[in-house]
Amino acid sequence: MSNSGAAVDLGEVFGPSHRGDEPDLVQLLTPEGERVEHPEFTFDLDDEAIKGFYRDLVLTRRIDTEATALQRQGELGIWASLLGQEAAQIGSGRALKPQDFAFPTYREHGVAWARGIDPLRLLALFRGVDHGGWDPKEGNFGLYTIVIGAQSLHATGYAMGLQRDGVIGTGDPERDAAVIGYFGDGATSQGDVNEAFVWAGVFNAPIVFFCQNNQWAISVPIEKQSRAPLYQRAAGFGFPGVRVDGNDVLAVYAVTQAALQRAREGSGPTLIEAFTYRMGAHTTSDDPTRYRLSDELESWQKRDPISRVKAYLVAQKAADDDFFAGIEQEADELAEHLRSGCLAMPDPSPLDIFGQVFAEQTAELQLQHDQYADYLASFEGEHA
């Protein structure tokens, strides 16, 4: 499959094998870095593209490391690490076309990267200078959503908008669009997410539900959210579900690309369960040693999403030391951009908030603004 339309029968791609109870997950690159075949999904980009993914993965991890350090030094209020989930995010984010739209949670730093959002904007939110930080229309990337599951309905509604605009199923690869909605395993318990499944199914909305099953919702393991594998839920809502190795960037790309294409063509929603692991704490406020065992972490470390890509590139002789050194250098520069940009980030003015509530300002709020400005002015000179 390429980015420009699929020649395969997409009904078959999400065929019966993913509706049953067999637990296998789609994998195209083993943890040891070996390419493997899958009967339904193929990754058909070249090694240059894989090098590009490698770069994305390393830079995304570096954003995460630097942000964690900035939080530890008191420059961010909190940070939600994506450590371990880089492949799920880069693979799916890179499968998007410019006209597609992504609805993230609060952890989709890799998707943000793939959508061209300056990671400094992410830091603004976690630093507490901004609730949003970017224009969703630039890069077609929604605002981070903290209320668990809420964005799944927004994504579905946006997809229904695409339907009404006639930008699906035209056959024009530059035009046909789809939506991807991200959420975690914990979120699948929320009413909103289940309602989104209902809507998407009933209206055959052009949407891909992308669930990163990182096995944990803070301290609560996946067994406490679902007795059935999450991807199997899709069947009950009337659309296909598939489980992919979320630490395999090639498989995530191939599966997401196929699901997006299916949506763009007008064949409706898909649920992708990216099977992965939250390698770090839930956020910098969390202490996972209170609730999970370290052997679990160790077993997942062997399935690291980045090292397998490197192993592949090295084995193929597709990348040399200079390539890897160049990316390290780029990562250092990115970290420096984040650090200096974060420290230089101005605080908002408390007077700004009054003008941001409504499209049409009210006299009451304007009065509150004016009175508060007078109040602040009454302190001027006092501390001089």
Binding site: H131, G191, V220, K224, P348, I353, F354, L365
Partner: protein
């Protein structure tokens, strides 16, 4: 006497309630093994088991909706909402079901449910972690709403709320969780729905609850240095209000300032101002003033200190009422 924090007072109170009544259950996100993100339920699952301290799936409507059924079966669920901003997925169950079932059943079906909500700002958090939703609940017939402000009240009030046969929204001042006080477990606690003068004074009555009680006390200490005597009342019960201590105080001082973090517009202060005006009209020397959040969503945390009422904003209102 033991020195405890508010968080510890709640943990001890929950433990005492669970020991006293096997029908008491704790349910919520991360309340079991982790002991809650604020560790308020720390150790309870270990001691009372997974049947009584339940790590629920991630769904607030589910937590409250199933609590209704458990209550119908004779249990006394204590539901933890992880942060104020996440109570809204449960809003329908709380407002349309929990609040109405006693009434609809003509008293045949009580709803002994406690909804614990860490509320308010000042902790440098991201969106939805700093809100003050009390007015929504106080406005709802069929719900009682209380807020503790210190470790001793935390210890007693949570037990009293659990013992009550009515549904109670129990607000915990999260930014004060780690503040300490001396608990005497043998002392006789005040009843739950009682307001209390926490600092006597003569010039202005300052009414506060939850996290703002400390702010009001700080303001009264600062005002004292300027020769102004503030009487501070900790409301403790927001619905029903305990109006007698309020009227008694305002009739003496002739002036009142209500302080809360929630937006002023239709907040608790509005109701108190109206009641004081109706009942103490001839004693008032100035209009009742309200100090609270602005009518904007809670702002990004770097400017939350500006948004939240602080000592200066309270003193400013005090001066305005004195200058009136």
């Amino acid at each position: 006497m033991t020195a405890i924090t508010i968080a510890k007072g709640l943990t001890m109170g929950l433990r005492a309630a669970m020991e006293a009544d096997p029908k008491v259950l704790i349910m919520g996100e991360d309340v079991g093994k982790l002991g809650g993100v604020f560790r308020v339920t720390d150790g309870l699952q270990k001691d009372f088991g997974e049947d009584r301290v339940i790590d629920t799936p991630l769904a607030e409507s589910g937590i409250l909706g199933t609590a209704v059924g458990l209550a119908m079966r004779g249990y006394r669920p204590v539901c933890e909402i992880q942060f104020d901003g996440f109570v809204f997925p449960a809003y329908d169950q709380i407002v349309s079901q929990v609040a109405k079932i006693h009434f609809r059943s003509r008293g045949r079906v009580p709803m002994p449910i406690v909804i614990r909500i860490p509320f308010g700002g000042g902790i440098g958090a991201v969106e939805h972690h700093s809100e003050s939703p009390e007015a929504y609940f106080a406005h709802t017939a069929g719900l009682k709403v209380v807020a503790c402000s210190n470790p001793v009240d935390a210890y007693w009030m949570i037990q009293q709320a659990i013992a009550s046969d009515d549904p109670i929204v129990f607000l915990e001042p999260k930014r004060r969780y780690w503040e300490k006080g001396e608990l005497d477990e043998d002392a006789e606690p005040d009843p739950l729905h009682v307001s209390r003068v926490v600092r006597p004074g003569t010039d202005v009555t300052v009414l506060a609850y939850g996290p703002m009680v400390k702010t009001a006390l700080q303001a009264s200490a600062a005002a004292e240095g300027e020769g102004k005597s503030l009487e501070v009342i900790d409301l403790r019960t927001l619905s029903p209000l305990d109006v007698d201590p309020i009227y008694e105080s305002v009739r003496r001082t002739g002036r009142a300032v209500v302080v809360h973090e929630a937006p002023v517009n239709l907040g608790l202060g509005s109701e108190i101002a109206a009641r004081v005006t109706e009942n103490c009209f001839y004693s008032l020397e100035a209009p009742v003033l309200r100090v609270g959040g602005f009518d904007t969503p809670y702002p990004p945390s770097r400017i939350e200190e500006e948004y939240l009422p602080d000592l200066d904003r309270v003193l400013d209102a005090v001066d305005r009422t004195l200058d009136y």
